[in-house]
């Protein structure tokens, strides 16, 4: 059959048996799950049985592009990775830019599924229809930059550093040095399989069903990207550090492990200050006109993202810009999630009553990346570390995933988004910062619960679908599901309405929920750290009664039971076939 947007093929690699198969995909499945996060969730749900050790050969890693990846649609040079997380035990997806996604598509594949584990270090090489498992013993022990330098002649490099090799539970997978599949320890899963890298190159562009219509749709998207100050002025000018002053002004900046929500030193880490101090060069992802990523021209070091500046900076109470640039570079080179790393160090500092300085912060990052000394305990993440030390209340996490750079006390939609996130404490599931902070697409009252439960559920659905196309979330500050569904229809030749598109997301969200329920998660896990219910900062604590009421309303919005369990009727309406013993 003729495929448009998709390639219609998946590479299945069993590292235990050193077996490589190219498997055709079913159009019906792609229509239901699109690709990227959706396809990954579908595959991981069906491949895994409950209770497996995420760091064992039983786990699988799915790398998946979407139908828009590598097409001319703006901001779609992305791909997703899905697995069972060694940090949270939940299903976990992460997506990133760079070049790997488009190159995999150019090679002719929608996805790669990696199963089993190799006895010795290996890497996978894909060049169009030539796929091989190569010896990586000479690369083992190298960090991301050296590994990437050694393999970049073969195409786009996706690899782990020593953090992944040493199973740091928040190890990331890095694409072409600076783009990260950041959260949840996917790098450790790769390390547990003795898989050092995947390198891909390809020579064929994906086919588009209606190129002329797509040009028209793209003009529509571009017009909106230009008109929105967030995409065309804020992110374009300063990158994500544009948020630092703004979030501080809104009094939701994590400071001292969320003991405070403003920092008098925020400006030191702001986009404005970075641009005053350094000449920067834009390093955009493939096909992205927003170009939020950048590096310092003189050193070639990456400008840290806002989340990094907040979690390794103000949350650790280290606001020396040079130090944060250095630890960001170290995290990228070891292959570690800067959010979890910063949050874990902030937890460690509070628990031990330490005032960190730049030197200590840098030293701790080195220790975690190599699992030396206290770094070995911190490499387990804040949740496990705080529990082990007898102070679980000092870990600022949801379902084991450390919270990012927005204090939920001052953004109540975000609070509900954190609590109900299927992958744990994450800001990008409902991305309420768009409406509660930026006012995009509409400014809403950030300290009110009114309407939030429905809104959070709807946005979670939309972003799950967006993550499956795979488009950048930042585009959603400007475009809506309508423009994306239009582009998707023009690319694939399948008519997607906005409602179809949102339902894809709802299907994915429910299947993720089923995975977590199968693993033993319950409604009790849909909550926030007690600090946010007990302590005031510049913003008042969250009322637990109001939160619980909003949570119940959220379950109703999802047509779930009051215990947060999807009903058979709901699953049937979403065409989620199969037997699920853990549903209501």
């Amino acid at each position: 059959m003729d495929w448009y947007g998709w390639c219609g093929k998946l590479v299945d690699i069993d590292l235990s048996r050193r077996k490589i198969q190219v498997i055709p995909l079913e159009l019906d499945i792609m229509r239901l799950y699109l690709g990227g996060r959706g396809l990954g969730v579908y595959l991981v749900y069906n491949e895994l049985t409950s209770g497996i050790d995420p760091l064992s050969a039983d786990n699988v890693l799915v790398f998946a592009t979407g139908p828009l990846t590598g097409t001319p649609v703006p901001t779609t040079g992305r791909f997703a990775c899905v697995s069972k997380s060694p940090l949270t035990g939940t299903i976990l997806d992460s997506n990133c830019g760079g070049r790997f996604g488009p190159y995999l598509k150019f090679a002719g594949y929608d996805a790669i599924i990696v199963r089993g584990a190799s006895r010795t270090p290996v890497y996978i090489r894909i060049a169009d229809n030539v796929i091989s498992i190569e010896d990586a013993r000479s690369l083992w022990g190298k960090n991301v930059r050296d590994t990437t330098a050694a393999l970049k002649g073969y195409g786009s490099v996706l690899c782990i550093g020593t953090a992944g090799e040493r199973l740091v539970r928040f190890a990331s997978i890095m694409n072409d040095n600076t783009s990260a599949l950041g959260r949840g320890g996917l790098g450790a899963v790769m390390g547990s399989k003795n898989l050092k890298a995947i390198v891909v190159n390809g020579s064929n562009r994906p086919r588009v069903y209606e190129p002329n219509l797509l040009r028209y749709r793209n003009a529509d998207i571009t017009r909106l990207l230009v008109a929105s100050p967030v995409s065309s002025k804020g992110l374009r000018v300063y990158g994500t550090p544009v948020l630092m002053n703004l979030i501080n002004y809104m009094k939701v900046l994590p400071t001292a492990n969320f003991r405070r929500s403003t920092s008098p030193h925020a400006y030191e880490l702001s986009g404005e200050h970075i641009h005053e101090r350094f000449e920067v060069r834009l390093t955009p992802c493939y096909g992205c006109p927003i170009a939020c990523k950048r590096e310092i021209r003189s050193s070639g070091m990456e400008v840290p993202e806002y989340e990094t500046l907040a979690m390794l900076g103000t949350s650790c109470e280290v606001t020396n810009l040079n130090a944060i640039i250095e630890v960001n570079h170290l995290c990228n080179d070891y292959g570690m999630d800067t959010i979890s790393c910063g949050a874990t160090i902030a937890c460690y500092a509070e628990l031990n009553n330490l005032q960190l300085d730049p030197k200590t912060l840098i030293s701790l990052v080195h220790k975690i990346g190599t699992r030396r000394d206290v770094g070995d305990e911190l490499a387990e993440g804040a949740h496990r570390y705080a529990n082990k030390m007898g102070h679980p209340e000092l870990s600022m996490d949801v379902k084991g995933l450390e919270l990012p750079g927005y204090d939920p006390r001052g953004v109540l939609g975000m609070a509900l988004g954190y609590a109900t996130s299927n992958r744990g404490g994450c800001h990008t599931r409902a991305y309420m910062v768009g409406m509660e902070i930026f006012g995009k697409p509409k400014l809403i009252h950030r300290l009110s619960w009114v309407g939030k439960p429905n809104l959070v559920a709807l946005l979670q659905n939309i972003f799950a679908a967006v993550d499956s196309t795979v488009m950048c979330k930042f585009a959603l500050f400007s475009v809506s599901e309508e423009e994306i569904a239009n582009a998707l229809s023009a690319v694939t030749g399948i008519d997607f309405t906005s409602e179809d598109f949102i339902q894809v997301g709802e299907r994915i969200w429910n299947l993720e929920r089923l995975f977590n329920l199968r693993e033993g998660f319950t409604k009790l896990d849909d909550t926030l750290p007690e600090r946010f219910f007990q302590e005031d900062t510049d913003i008042r604590r969250i009322s637990k009664a109001e939160f619980m009421s909003a949570l119940l309303e959220y379950y109703r919005a999802r047509d779930w039971t009051k215990d947060g369990i999807p009903t058979h009727d709901k699953l049937q309406a979403l065409s989620i076939a199969g037997e699920y013993s853990h549903v209501a």
């Binding site: 017009r223 230009v226 100050p229 002025k233 702001s270 404005e272 006012g439 995009k440 697409p441």
Partner: protein, 188 residues
Amino acid sequence: MWREFNKFGKKLVQYGLTHSHFGNMSVRVGDKMFITRSGSMLDELDENQVVEVHLHKPTSFDIIASSELIVHREIYKNTSALAIIHAHSPFAIILSLLIDEKEIIPMDSESIYFLHEIPIITGKVGSTELAHNAADALKDHKAVIIKGHGTIAIGKILEEAYVHTCCVEHACKVKYFVDLQNALTRRL
């Protein structure tokens, strides 16, 4: 400061000069500008919905300011305006779509007195083209109409920009009905 925004935001909506979600206002203070937030409702403005940004260089707060910030900046940089109101006044929009001329000559005495002629300019929402065209036209006019989009009026204070906004809409309304009546008379 925000109380002025609140007062004229309410008036703009109350008198049908724009709908709640359309339009924006700003006031220049030295090298700073106070401007309504993106997504704010003009008839419900409070202190959290007016944001301070720099006039000459981008700041973090640009991303929460009105999407027409770039237009306001360009106008302040090129004119002596100290206040700007952008509204989506219906008769101004209708008339700009009905006529091919590059300006509207008001027929009523008040508008001629205040505005002389009203240029009709083009440019997409929040675009550099619109910013340049508006700033250029406002060098020697008090208000302009963006074809099919709305009005931009300047003043020394918000109240003066509001008066000019009213004038444009009044002029367009009068001209629309006079032209309509003339057309009907010719047909008869």
